[in-house]
């Protein structure tokens, strides 16, 4: 873990009309580290990461990338600077093959006799390579529909889409294990650890404190739009974090 945070959010406030969703929130994410964001429903977790991934713009506050101020007008701006997200729904089209899903909206093409067309062969080989090299996942067949894959494999395809961009530096994962069984959850957590070892900064949103303590290095706790504490998982316990979430106990933010 380096000293300089990869991404720093400072004094982020977000208002929707008269409702203040976020109030003066600070957040730091480091390369090679998994940061978990936890909190009750409506605590502002989703709003926070939507600001970080350029979907929303903060009403007040600044975001720094490598210490330099960062202005994002849309999600594609965030992707351009190496910040991407994997949503809970995974945004997969079930009838397409894993490779086609991985390149959906960003297909590889070739030009044959002056006509630009999709390069299905190269997309398949690239998808196989990225899944294997970056995520250590080998699918039995790359020609099946994505809906025939297991939950963990689908997650891998969605992550592969993000990590295919070589300049990806921060990956946000919104409740990746919410709909998974124990076995698939273990696989997904292993994927997250693999990404951390590759030097990526990972931000994980989760309701499951067991998962959080399994993979995260630090935990950022949100309550009612405010950051109420950041704790190191090595020096903390589920009880302490739970206390922060429900407000029974306050730590120094």
């Amino acid at each position: 873990m380096s000293d300089q945070p990869l991404v720093q959010m400072r004094g982020i406030t977000k208002r929707f009309g008269g409702v203040t969703a976020l109030q003066d929130v600070n957040l730091e994410a480091y390369a090679g580290e998994v940061l978990a964001i936890v909190g009750d429903n409506g605590a502002g977790k989703s709003t926070l990461i939507k600001i970080l991934t350029g979907v929303y713009q903060a009403s007040e506050g600044e975001i720094f990338l490598d210490g330099k101020p960062l202005e994002m007008a849309s999600h594609s701006d965030a992707i351009d600077v190496g910040i991407d997200a994997v949503y809970q729904t995974l945004a997969l089209a079930d009838h397409l093959t894993p490779a086609n899903n991985m390149f959906l909206g960003n297909e590889l093409t070739k030009t044959v006799m002056g006509i630009k067309m999709l390069d299905n062969t190269r997309m398949k080989s690239e998808a196989t390579r990225v899944l294997d090299e970056r995520l250590g996942v080998r699918l039995r067949s790359m020609d099946v529909q994505t809906d025939s894959l297991s939950g963990g494999q689908r997650q891998a395809v969605a992550i592969a889409r993000a990590v295919y961009h070589e300049d990806l530096r921060l990956l946000v994962m919104d409740e990746p294990t919410a709909a998974l069984g124990p076995q698939e959850t273990a696989r997904t957590l292993k994927l997250i650890k693999t990404l951390r070892e590759q030097g990526l900064a990972v931000i994980l949103i989760s309701h499951s404190l067991d998962d959080v303590f399994e993979v995260a290095d630090r935990v950022h706790v949100q309550r009612r739009g405010r950051a109420v504490g950041v704790v190191q998982t090595a020096e903390s316990s589920v009880q302490e974090v739970l206390g922060l979430i429900v407000g029974a106990q306050d730590a120094v933010a």
């Binding site: 995974l90 009838h95 999709l118 995520l135 699918l139 693999t194």
Partner: protein, 375 residues
């Protein structure tokens, strides 16, 4: 993460068959017709001139089935194609007969006008958020009405050779010209479906509109593309029909929409979106033409055609739905479902309806007097 550990033995015979289902389905039905006709009327059905006739009939529907495959795969539907074909045909006929346009210009013009009508359909659906079923049904009335307004009941006939060549020309010793056109559009459609952004996004939009939107695909624009393609292909069919009959009137092509939708659905393209089969659509078109031709060959009254088409559509869609159902609720046989209480209630209700029907018929027959002939 270890490689997948999915149990191979879980794969049943049906699972392995499933990818080929869309192709096997219509093929089985085509072979059933061939077999049946081979026994019933082999001489007249398999005559070369009759096979030519089947192809000629099928060719008319191939371009539309190709385009409809895209529309349906995107979870859409277009009920206006018959009217687009008629209106484009009428407009082309007027340009040639009334204004002396060259057929070489009037034909591409007609196809472009069809594309514009498709564009209007697409804009109504994506911009005004009118559901496709209602939107295209209403536009069907509009286009048909305009065709009637323009043609005023006239039949326009006798067109330049180019048009009749397109509609019914025969390449000596080979297949008719329209069949070449139809197969070409089908091949182009297959290429577009598998090798272009439009085709890929068509499947993803039908599979999951939300996911497509999230990955940055212009969902509305690609929907409009599909309707424009549909309009252009319907107009092409209108041109081919005009050439085939060497005549066109405003009431031409009345049942194009249902015939084409039937062919596409029979071919295994899912009405629920995401599942496309261009080869299946071609097989579906051939199947319907073969079936209708078989009815004619067997000298069955013309009106039975519509009954047969309906039965084929319902049974094939029901079959696909049943086969694609992942979880069959442990139902071991079709009859197992009849033992539930819900099924019992439905059976009693049906029995009541049929009982009433029989009662009324019996009463009518018992009280009947000598009928007075009408008219």
């Amino acid at each position: 993460m270890a490689a997948t550990t999915t149990n191979l033995t879980e794969k049943t015979f049906m699972d392995r068959l499933e990818p080929y289902l869309t192709f096997i389905g219509p093929m089985v039905m085509i072979f059933a017709i061939l077999l049946f006709m081979g026994i019933a009327e082999p001489v007249r059905y398999f005559r070369l001139s009759n096979l030519n006739l089947i192809l000629l009939d099928a060719a008319l529907y191939m371009p539309m089935a190709m385009a409809m495959t895209f529309v349906i795969t995107q979870r859409g539907i277009d009920l206006s194609i018959g009217s687009i074909a008629a209106l484009s045909g009428i407009l082309m006929a007027f340009l040639i007969k009334q204004y002396g346009f060259s057929a070489y210009i009037a034909i591409p013009l007609a196809i472009l006008m069809g594309a514009v009508m498709g564009l209007i359909n697409g804009l109504i659906i994506t911009r005004f958020k009118v559901p496709d079923l209602i939107g295209t049904l209403a536009m069907d009335l509009v286009y048909r009405g305009l065709a009637l307004v323009i043609a005023k009941g006239l039949v326009l006939a006798r067109f330049p050779d180019l048009l009749t060549d397109i509609g019914r020309g025969q390449i000596p010793g080979f297949i008719p010209v329209p069949v070449v056109i139809g197969l070409l559009t089908m091949a182009l459609g297959y290429w577009a479906l598998t090798r272009t952004h439009f085709g890929r996004y068509t499947i993803s939009i039908g599979s999951s509109p939300e996911a497509s939107e999230m990955t940055g695909i212009a969902v509305d624009r690609h929907k409009i593309y599909a309707y424009v393609l549909m309009g252009a292909c319907a107009a092409l069919a209108g041109v081919m029909l005009t050439g085939k009959l060497n005549a066109i009137q405003a009431t031409s092509a009345p049942y194009f929409n249902l015939h084409v939708i039937a062919a596409v659905v029979v071919g295994g393209t899912s009405l629920f979106g995401g599942r496309a089969s261009m080869i299946g659509s071609l097989a579906g078109v051939l199947l319907l033409s073969m079936m209708i031709n078989a009815l004619v060959t067997l000298r069955i009254e013309f009106f039975w055609q519509s009954v047969a088409s309906g039965v084929v559509i319902v049974s094939s869609v029901a079959l696909y739905t049943w086969m694609q159902k992942k979880d069959r609720d442990g139902a071991r046989s079709l009859l197992a479902g009849l033992r539930t209480t819900e099924a019992q209630k439905l059976m009693k209700f049906s029995a009541l309806l049929i009982g009433l029907l029989i009662l009324l018929l019996a009463a009518g027959a018992g009280l009947a007097t000598d009928p007075t002939p009408s008219g």
